[in-house]
């Protein structure tokens, strides 16, 4: 049984052999690849700043920015 609770923050798990361009093309197809990569990297700094920069298939990769702190409206 699986329960589809909405995630706290949407994420994917990379496919084997994925790199930033492939992931960007898949999850943000409507955004130019370079811009999508920069966006994704900014949401996943932990992956960017690893001692050895590799993406593994067991990683989680956020596909949206962090939520604003409770009580704080967007843009404030």
């Amino acid at each position: 049984m699986s329960t589809a609770l909405p995630p706290r923050r949407r994420f994917i798990q990379p496919e084997s052999g994925d790199d930033w361009p492939r992931i960007a093309a898949r999850v943000m197809p409507d955004v130019p690849v370079e811009a999508a990569i920069e966006q994704l990297k900014s949401w996943n700094l932990f992956l960017v700043f690893r001692p050895v920069s590799v993406i593994t298939p067991s990683d989680i990769l956020f596909i949206e920015p962090p939520a604003a702190p409770a009580g704080q409206a967007a843009g404030t």
């Binding site: 329960t3 798990q13 932990f46 298939p57």
Partner: protein
């Protein structure tokens, strides 16, 4: 006739029920009566009003190597721990082919901070299979062992060194499932994995190369056999941790398994993290998942020296590389003004990306090869101010003058808001664990969390009653990990028993002892307030006589699925 009756105690049976005056009768290693015990016994022990409780169960240890040379897992046994779970964090010592021993050993020593000379001197590799590892340690066990098998080891066995670099094929996944089943049949209580750990070459451990379908398939095997899954998540970030809780929840529901993760701790760097994680676990639990976070009771201490690589330097590449150098090259580097300046600059921009706030100025001189009374216990920041130099230079100069033997301490750098932690530990969703016994032996003492729970949070903060603390250390663990007939004082259960004084049970101060199988030291804590410990009905430790010669520890049995 009974073998033993322990009478005149405060029976705290592990269920959380109110304690009461009574006795416990034991025959053939099993409890046969609790409360009012009739009949003759070969031996009678007067507990003198002390607590009679089930032996404590420590679900997160790395005693895999130590068990080869010390089947009592000292000093855990003297703290009342009668069952330990080694094999956490994707790393066990079996199943392992001979050709992978050097590689796995280097990974194990790096992640768990075990001195190479002790590891090499103490380990006589006589096994490859999981069953043979258990057979190798079995005769010497003075403590019960409920081992996990590491996912990284399962991958290595099936895929060879490819396990470090690629995903598995469907055929290989099927082979891993068969191997996991074999390990579970041999005595493993579950499998451990990691989403975080990096090996001795700074590469992800093999378990991290698994695609989700591989982990899913292995969890199907755990579900068939009644095994637990332990994982190390990205514990320092609330969003990542909640994502991992969701993944564990899905695996738990889909395969009907218990899952646990470690560590979960509080830190000023992320003060809301534990609450966010608990809210997520509460939600997932309400939807049928079994996800148990493990929280340590003690504050987080670290230490470091310049003699060997230590986790404290993991995000200081220059310092890390320096500690890896051969001795002569290291000494030359530490005396080179330009290199010293570079090291100082790196320390200025230090960042510990795992939810801890470290200021090296707060480090103090903890241990010296040749103790200097003028330096022992002194804060590095104060010494730097007196000397008019950078804190890095103080650290380097003291180390050089002491032949690199000086150890610098950083105490209570996280998980140190006692009032806040008292509430967390009392939460029914929180499991007590993540102690790391047998690991980080020259970095900090990983022992005595059980005593500290009573001294700090039962007596000190009244965070929970005695009975709840005992239940959290016994029945709760046995139930989640599926240990058969352990964790309660009940007729038919194994006679794993601890007698302790609820007014004095505690962990002692951190001390360095030289009891490794090679020259060197490790940090431990002695117990206080523990009077006697019984393992399967036989006294294994007593306050007056110390450790007994008895070797009555067992590989625990698992509740069947």
């Amino acid at each position: 006739m009974l073998d033993l009756v322990i009478r005149n105690g405060l029976v705290c049976d592990g269920s959380g029920a109110p304690a009461y005056r009574g006795s416990v009768g034991i025959r053939d290693g099993r409890i046969v009566a609790v409360g009012e015990v009739d009949g003759l016994a070969r031996e009678l022990i007067d507990a003198g009003g002390l607590v009679i409780a089930p032996g404590f169960i420590d679900p997160h240890t790395h005693y895999d190597a130590q068990l080869v040379w010390d089947g009592q897992a000292q000093p855990s046994l003297e703290h009342g721990v009668t069952t330990i779970m080694p094999g956490n964090c994707s790393l066990s010592l079996a199943p392992l082919r001979a050709e992978h021993r050097d590689m796995l050993g280097a990974t194990f020593r790096k992640i768990e901070e075990m001195p190479k000379n002790a590891f090499d001197a103490g380990l006589t590799w006589t096994w490859e299979s999981f069953a043979d590892y258990l057979a190798a340690i079995g005769p010497g066990l003075g403590i019960n062992v409920a081992p996990l098998v590491g996912h990284s080891l399962i991958r290595l066995w099936v895929m060879g060194l490819d396990a470090r670099s690629r995903a598995a094929t469907d055929t290989e996944i099927a082979q891993m499932q068969a191997l996991l089943a074999e390990c579970l049949d041999a005595g493993a209580v579950g499998m451990s994995g990691s989403w975080v750990d990096i090996d001795h070459e700074n590469l992800p451990v093999p378990a991290r190369l698994a695609e989700p379908k591989e982990l899913d398939a292995l969890c199907a095997t755990l579900g068939e056999k009644g095994g637990i899954l332990q994982m190390v998540p990205e514990f320092w970030d609330a969003d990542m941790l909640c994502a991992r809780i969701d993944l564990l929840s899905d695996l738990s529901r889909k395969h009907g398994i218990s899952t646990t993760f470690s560590p979960l701790f509080d830190s000023n760097a992320s003060p809301e993290l534990v609450g966010i994680a608990l809210d997520r676990i509460r939600l997932q639990t309400a939807h049928g998942a079994r996800v148990v976070p493990q929280m340590q009771t003690r504050p987080i201490d670290l230490s470091f020296d310049l003699g060997a690589p230590m986790s404290t330097f993991a995000t200081l590449p220059g310092w890390w590389a320096m500690t890896m150098l051969p001795r002569d090259e290291k000494l030359a580097l530490l005396r080179d003004p330009e290199k010293r300046q570079a090291l100082a600059g790196e320390m200025d921009s230090f960042y510990m990306p795992i939810g801890l706030q470290i200021d090296f100025a707060d480090a103090y001189v903890k241990r010296m090869g040749t103790p200097d009374p003028a330096l022992m216990g002194r804060r590095v920041g104060d010494l730097a101010a007196e000397r008019g130099c950078h804190i890095a230079e103080v650290i380097i100069d003291i180390a050089l003058a002491d032949d690199l033997a000086t150890s610098f301490g950083l105490d209570a750098i996280g998980h140190n808001d006692d009032a806040k932690i008292a509430k967390m530990l009392a939460d029914p969703l929180i499991g007590i664990g993540a102690g790391d016994g047998g690991a980080h032996v020259t970095n900090f003492a990983t022992y005595g969390d059980t005593g500290y729970l009573f001294s700090r949070y039962v007596r000190g903060f009244s965070a929970m009653p005695l009975e709840t603390a005992v239940r959290k250390l016994t029945h709760d663990v046995a139930q989640v990990w599926g240990l058969r007939e352990r964790g309660l004082l009940r007729p038919g259960y194994a006679a794993d028993i601890v007698l302790f004084d609820p007014e004095t049970i505690d962990r002692g101060p951190e001390i360095a002892v030289e009891d490794l199988p090679a020259p060197g030291f490790r940090y431990i804590r002695r117990a206080s307030g523990i009077d006697r410990v019984f393992v399967n009905g036989v006294q294994a430790y007593s306050r007056s006589a110390g450790y007994a010669a008895a070797r009555t520890g067992q590989i625990t049995e698992r509740q069947m699925a």
